[in-house]
Symmetry: C2
Subunit: 183 residues, 2 copies
């Protein structure tokens, strides 16, 4: 299909302007040297990454309904959370599963890893599937407000086609479950 | 499953600090009022949105290999591009298909729409499938450098499982093709 030498595609950052150093993101306005020697500006958002969880229990898949201020919308998403400094993705996943839906899994299987939007951001998501899960109570953070929503596995395909899931990690998770469970 | 009144989850922006007003993104540091009356800071990236394309021709799916400076990585992605001001997503899709892989489609079918990372960004992606496509020559922008890579449909599942696709829109597209073509 292709050889593995991609050097003819490489851009080099030649100068950096740190615009914002936030708790969640850092924003750089960078100048790059293009493969043909020209230059271009790049706006880059650095992010510590996140985890997301496929949680199926008794023929139902678990979601959370939450308000998201950036899109100004109430979305139906799979449980997820940002990786804190010093945390391994798997630790974050165990914590978020417990906090958001009260889930405790015997095992977490990694399903995929992906950049959410590599054109401007390095945010990387680790997607796990919770195995042999039991459900206890939610333990939300102080500034977190969300409702647990369960969906019958048999309804996932219809809801996906109807556009009920509207963020990338959740669509990846639902498509995975539909394939894995032969729905 | 749930009623449609989500007002108990709503946050209200009470003050805004525009940190960056770039060509691709705008960054706000905002203060929100939480559902319980408390307050929290939110870091928000506004983006004009993008399109992405599923392009299958003669039993092969079309990808582009390109360097992405934010993750500092060479990724195998489906054709995609940012929506310019005043452009309808479908126009952008027709243009990007032509620019990136030289594709001309009889018809574009919308497959999904989604936020890539609603926790901090409003970037919204429209995913189309190109129907009855012919392939002409690439017509890249001046600051765009990418290689066209085609993959046999029968190899998609194996490559997906091996982690060959590492960004969200591309994984959604490949999962969709595997399901739609019964691969």
């Amino acid at each position: 299909m292709e050889n593995n030498d991609y050097s003819h595609l490489k851009e080099e950052i030649i100068s950096n302007n740190r615009i914002f150093d936030g708790k969640v993101i850092k924003v750089d306005h960078s100048r790059v040297k293009l493969p043909d020697g020209g230059t271009a500006d790049r706006e880059i958002v650095y992010h510590k990454g996140a985890v997301a969880l496929i949680a199926v229990h008794q023929e139902e898949m678990y979601f959370v309904r939450q308000y998201r201020v950036a899109p100004d919308d109430f979305l139906l998403e799979i449980p997820a959370g940002k990786i804190e400094v010093g945390e391994a993705p798997r630790e974050t996943a165990i914590k978020e599963l417990r906090e958001e839906i009260g889930g405790v899994a015997e095992e977490l299987e990694e399903i995929q890893e992906f950049y959410v939007s590599p054109g401007f951001s390095n945010e990387y998501v680790y997607l796990y599937e919770a195995r042999d899960m039991t459900i206890d109570v939610q333990e939300l953070d102080d500034d977190e407000f969300l409702d647990i929503v369960t969906v019958q596995l048999q309804d996932l395909k219809k809801l996906l086609q109807a556009g009920a899931f509207r963020d990338s990690k959740t669509i990846i998770a639902v498509q995975h479950v539909i394939a894995a469970y032969n729905l």
